[in-house]
Each structure stands twice: as C-alpha cells, then as structure tokens.
Amino acid sequence: MDTDPQDHIDSPENIKIPLAYIKGKPLEKIPSDLYLPPDALKIILESFEGPLDLLLYLIRKQNFDILELPVAKITEQYMQYIGLMEDLKLELAAEYLLMAATLAEIKSKMLLPVHSDLEEEEDPRQELIRRLREYEIFKEASINLDSIPRSSRDFYNINSVKYVKTKKEEVPEKVDLVQLATILNDIIIRNKILSAHDIKRDILSVREKMAFILDTMSSEDYTEFTSILKQEEGKHGLIVTLLAVLELIKVGLIDCLQAEPFSKIYIKLM
C-alpha cells in the first residue's frame, strides 16, 4: 500500500474507532511495523452489509446518539472509509457513493443559517435518522431470528421413517390424448426442418445468422424460435441458428424465454 490508511483514520479530532476486532482485541489502526495483507483489510471492510451498516457502526462505536447524529464528524469518517475502500480497489457498490452524496448534502444544509421564518422546516437529518433507526431494528431482529431454535441445528425432527410399501393395484395414469396429437404435430414439423436436403455447406455462417436475427427480431415482442428457421436451410440451418442465438444471449443482445423444458423458446431483442 502506498498510502498508509491510518492517516485517514487517525486525524487528531477523531476518537479512535477500532477497524475491527481480531481475537477480541480491537484493531484501531493498522500497525505500521506489521504487514497487514490487503486481503485481510478487504475482508474487514467487506463485512459491512452496506452504507447504513457502516454508518451505524461508526455511530455505535463512538457512542453517539442516533437522534443527535453529528453529521460533520460522521461524514468525515465515512469518507475516510470510502477512501480506504477505494485505495484497496474494493469494488464499491453504488450505494456507498450515493450515501456519500446524501451525507454531503445534509452537511451542507446544516451549514445554512436557520431562518426564523422557516422554523417549520424539517431537520435535514431526519430522513437519514429514520432510515438508520429502521435498519438497526431489523438488523437486531435478524440477529434474534438467527438465535431462535432451528430445525437440524438446535432440534431434530424425526421424519420419513421408512416403511415397506405394500402392493397396491396400480392404475396407470392416462395420457392426455390432445397433447399426444400436438406432440406428433411438433415432431412432424421438427422433422420437416431437420430432413431438408441438399444444403451447400459454408453458406451459413454463425455471424451472418446473428446479423439476420438482430435484423428480423423486434425488441417489443417475443418471436418463437422455430419461426426464424428457414426450411431450405435444413438441419445445418437449425444448428447455425441455435449457435447464433446462444452467441447473442451470451453477449446480452437478446433475451430468451422458455416456460419449461421442451416447451417453445421465445426470443426478443434486449
């Protein structure tokens, strides 16, 4: 690391807050004589569940009252953490940056002189305080929820005790005859496409087919896969079309839907 992260954390007016606890001992700064692998720090920083979690941590560690959120201090510390995360090239979720902007906005609003005629105006911190309190409640609830007895962890159900099935007169399930007819139709249609003849190879390239698909397809409506097949292209055409579709899905240009295995496949432009 070229920048020593402790510069960010230990600015003089800050109360020391541990970065993390290692074996019960608070890690307040990164010891300069000890090489802390960036990966380890990454894990510490990644353990926050999001910007609200990070803010709550900063508030709680310093025994601040949420209701009297010291925005200036918290913002500064928050920005230091963000800086640290950026230094470590952690992929910063957009939510962290959004929160940074929110904090900056609140901070600047707090600096504006309060007009006596605007007394009714909301405290700019109010919404954030509400969100923090709400998040804290559910964070706590999740911890409590995790601690109540759970099956196969704290107690054990006795289920599925085996038994020897006695023989029953089995009546086989009927097949749906209409479905049977539809299936035969499908086979015949499929077969038509597959059994076409005399295709000259090399005529069809996957690239070309991709272009064709992009050209003919709409981004509004889904098109059924078999409708883009050309009978004269036969089996080879089917394969090339399938490859083209797969390729287009891979690069994210088209969207593909299939309700269940073997059902029709629908595609549309993204």
Partner: protein, 208 residues
Amino acid sequence: MNKEEQKKVIESIIFSSPSPVSVDSIHNFLSKEHDINRDTVKELLASIESEHENTPVILKKVASGYIFQISEKYSEWVTNFYPDKPQKYSRAFMETLALIVYKQPITRSEIEAVRGVAVSHNIMKNLLELEWIKILGNKEVPGRPMLYGTTKKFLDSHNLNSLSGLPEIKDVDTSQNTENSEQTQINLNISEGNGENDNNLDDFDNIH
C-alpha cells in the same frame, strides 16, 4: 379398531411422514373406513403426546401439524454425533429474512430500501427453495412487483405454531406507520385471499 390401534396407526403415519401431519389429514384418512370424529383424533394425539413426554422421542405440534422430534435433553447428543456443522446463514440472508418475516407482505425493493443495498438474487432464490418464503401476490403499484411472505414451513422449521411466537421487534416509530397506510391496506387484501395464508397473515397482524 380400538383406540390403542388407532393411536398406533397415527404414530406410524407421523413417523413416516416427511413433514408435519395435520389433524385434518389424519381425520380424513381414518374417517374413510371408521366412524371417527375430529375431536377424537385430537384426543388420540394428546394421548400419544403425553405417552412420549419423558422419552427421547416427543410429539410436537408446529404450524402445519404434528411431528416427532428428539427431545431437548437428547438433542445435544445428536448434535455432537454429527461431525458436520449445520449450515450458517449470512447476515444479508438473515436481514432479508427478518424483513420478510416482520414486514410481510413486502416487495423486494422495499427490502432494499430498508437495508440500503440491493438484495442478491441468490438470497431470494435460496429462501424460496427452502420454502421459508413464498410469493403472496403482486402489489398494485406500477410494475406490479411481487409481494413476499413467510410460509408454514418457515414456522415448522423454527418449532413455531404462528408468527406471534417470534421474538418481538421494537416499534419502528409511529410516523412511519401512518406514512405507510398503503401497506396496511394491501395486507387486508391478501388475507381475504386464499385459505392457507390466512393464518400467517392474521398472525402477522397480531404482531403489530
């Protein structure tokens, strides 16, 4: 078939079942061939329950019915017998679950609003696969997002009869509630819906 025999049939059914067995399903089954009423089934279950009281195997009533369980006293032995540690769920998983449990019916974006981060697809998939949550319907707002709630299986997995058995949560301050009158309304709509959900949602109402 005398009562002792009936009890043994009921025991066999509960032992062999992969999930808790409801009074109704036992009653439906036995009444096909015998003249037996629902209250008698309940009496028989109570009798089985008391007979097992001080044995390593106890009969337990949970949300979706009756199931045999290793008694608390011997659970620790069982835990120690198996070298594999039971699955631990991530914080993100538990927080998402907590929001669904306490704020159901809730949409994914409502969960995200409280947590301040996106809910991963995997967590929702996992919860749905565990059958701890289910889709209750769609919220009548643009986009008609899906509304999630907990299932009986979630309660079963925590030895609960209803949501009211869960730890209480602190009140999110009252300003929040009035602001969210819309949600209360949706709540009502769903509880009118389908039979099975009713209990869950009623219980949910009780919490608040």
